[in-house]
């Protein structure tokens, strides 16, 4: 026999109104217990940081704004920005080649990805730095034809430019894959809508698809920027005076290893925090641009339009 009602004779049949009765909120005892355990752990960690003599906070403080450290910091920022910009520009080109109808472009970009994702950046840095052993003279010209200009490889490849090359090429491979995913996430209808108003393929790409694709890839690119910041510390193997190498130089003189590593750590964390905040701000701005209600007056809303288009 099928049960059509689960109501049994024991159920109350009296209607009781809840009107005017304030319900009692649920209690969460485990929140408090879990919270207490966490607070205890954090407190003991801070206690360790502050009271451990070997941290030598006074030494940390005295070197935090040391000129050598600050110039290292500047080098780290330069490396991050340059490698990232070059990597992204190359990445866009490689991504477009990956999606090209031309099989030659697709193959070349695939090989590029395969190589630069496959070789560790540290190996690349050392390799580029020693390029002169392989190719003593760099020249611009027609392959197998005349050359227009040439340079001694050792003057072109400094530890700084080798670092940029290694980091930017690695980044280009990763950026290309993210940007390709972004481009593919923009619906095909967008391309068609551009084509039917008479735009060329490249106009559609530049004005319709890429602006939308780049918006999609901001979170992963921001993530990459932060990891790039930390990857720049690899350049200390080429004796490029970045933040880490500057700290190493100082502690090789005064043997205050831990305090100077702390100095470097603090600066890396500061930069990372700034980048994270910047990324959040950018995402919020792009979101605000699309979702501000029409009720907001034009003049006020235009301020949300990013990249100075207002």
């Amino acid at each position: 026999m099928t049960v059509i009602s689960r109501r049994t004779a024991g159920d109350s049949l009296v209607f009781r109104s809840a009107e005017g009765v304030r319900p009692v909120a649920r209690r969460h005892p485990w929140w408090w217990i879990g919270g207490a355990v966490l607070v205890l752990l954090i407190a003991s960690f801070i206690h360790l940081l502050v009271t451990n003599e070997n941290m030598r906070w006074s030494v940390v403080a005295s070197y935090l704004f040391d000129t050598e450290i600050l110039s290292g910091l500047l080098t780290t920022i330069e490396l991050t920005v340059l490698a990232m910009v070059i990597g992204l520009v190359l990445g866009v080109v490689i991504a477009i080649m990956r999606l090209s109808a031309n099989p030659l472009f697709r193959t070349v970009s695939w090989l590029w990805l395969w190589f630069f994702r496959g070789v560790p950046p540290l190996v690349q840095l050392v390799f580029w730095f020693n390029l002169a052993t392989l190719i003593p003279v760099l020249s611009i010209g027609i392959p197998f034809g005349p050359t227009f200009a040439s340079w001694d490889t050792n003057t072109v490849i400094t530890s700084f430019s080798a670092a940029i090359l290694g980091l930017a090429l690695t980044e280009s491979a990763y950026a290309a894959e993210m940007i390709r995913a972004g481009i593919q996430a923009v619906s095909k209808g967008q391309t068609e809508a551009g084509l039917v108003v008479g735009m060329s393929q490249s106009q559609v790409l530049r004005r319709i698809v890429l602006p939308q694709a780049l918006r999609i890839v901001i979170p992963p690119i921001g993530n990459d920027l932060i990891s790039m910041l930390k990857f720049t510390s690899l350049v200390s193997v080429l004796a490029t005076p970045d933040l880490l190498y500057s700290a190493q130089m100082i502690y090789s003189r005064n043997y205050q290893t831990i305090p100077l590593l702390l100095v470097a750590t603090i600066w890396y964390l500061v930069l990372c925090t700034l980048l994270t905040l910047g990324q959040q701000q950018l995402e919020r701005r792009l979101k605000a641009k699309r979702t501000t209600g029409t009720a907001v007056p034009t003049t006020k809303r235009l301020r949300f339009v990013p990249m100075g288009r207002a």
Binding site: G189, E192, L195, R215, T291
Partner: protein, 265 residues
């Protein structure tokens, strides 16, 4: 007002658009089989038929979003996608195809407005980028078009703030901004809530009254009956029959047409 245009069907003038024995395959699927139709200047042609009958593909073959693999489409007597060099027919460069596409506006079932641009920017994008129209002039013309579709007050909004019906009307304004000779509508109301369909059809009706040449793929039989000069019934990739709304809806010759109409009406 549209009377002189309508007489064009009876006098031997050149059709604005001629689709001549167009074929299209997707893999082994023969989607269009020798489809032919003529559209004269100022005419409204409605294409009806069950889903999967090739109506949308036909429309997309007209402006070469899909390349037909047999037959030709002619716009003003010139083959779309090809150009004559003496007696030889050469495939066009993309830039030349873009010039032909400019003359054919298209409205999609899914609107496809540019989500990162304001409504007014959606409308001015074509004129500014493609035609090189002065920005202020483009905005002025765009405002006039938005007023025409009843959305002047939404000029500063972004597409996602609009209802589907409003988005579709913006899409129509965006196409009109390129001053096309011909408008292609690909099931413009199929993605809309029923109460929003009327606004879009009103705009299309106004366009027809203004003398715009239109090819409309639609499931709105009442609209086809009222606005079309010619109705084409398609089934399984074939043009089964065509005629005036009175002929096609009143006394369809083919059994397939009769059973389709019986199902939708």
């Amino acid at each position: 007002m549209t009377q002189p245009h309508r007489q064009a069907t009876e006098t031997p003038v050149m059709p604005l658009l001629r689709v001549d024995k167009v074929n299209k395959h997707f893999g082994h699927n023969h989607v269009l089989r020798d489809v032919s139709l003529d559209v004269y200047c100022g005419q409204v042609q409605c294409v009806i038929g069950p889903s999967g009958s090739g109506k949308s593909t036909l429309l997309r073959c007209i402006n070469w979003l899909e390349v037909p693999d047999g037959g030709y489409v002619y716009l003003d007597g010139q083959p779309v996608g090809y150009r004559w060099k003496g007696d030889a027919l050469h495939e066009m460069k993309p830039a030349q195809l873009a010039v032909q596409r400019r003359r054919m506006g298209m409205v999609f079932q899914g609107f496809h407005l540019f989500p990162h641009k304001q409504v007014i920017e959606n409308v001015t994008e074509g004129p500014i980028v493609v035609n090189g129209t002065d920005r202020d002039q483009a905005r002025e013309e765009a405002m006039a078009l938005l007023a025409k579709v009843g959305l002047a007050e939404k000029a500063e909004a972004y597409p996602e703030q609009l209802s589907g019906g409003q988005q579709q009307r913006v899409a129509i304004a965006r196409s009109l901004a390129m001053k096309p000779d011909l408008m292609l509508f690909d099931e413009p109301t199929s993605a809309l809530d029923p109460e929003l369909v009327g606004d879009v059809l009103d705009v299309m009706r106004d366009l027809a009254t203004d003398g715009m040449t239109m090819v409309v793929v639609t499931h709105e039989m009442a609209f086809a009956r009222e606005v079309a000069d010619q109705v084409v019934f398609m089934d399984e990739g074939c043009c089964v029959e065509s005629g005036t709304p009175e002929e096609l809806f009143g006394s369809p010759a083919e059994q397939r047409t009769r059973s389709f109409l019986a199902r939708v009406q």
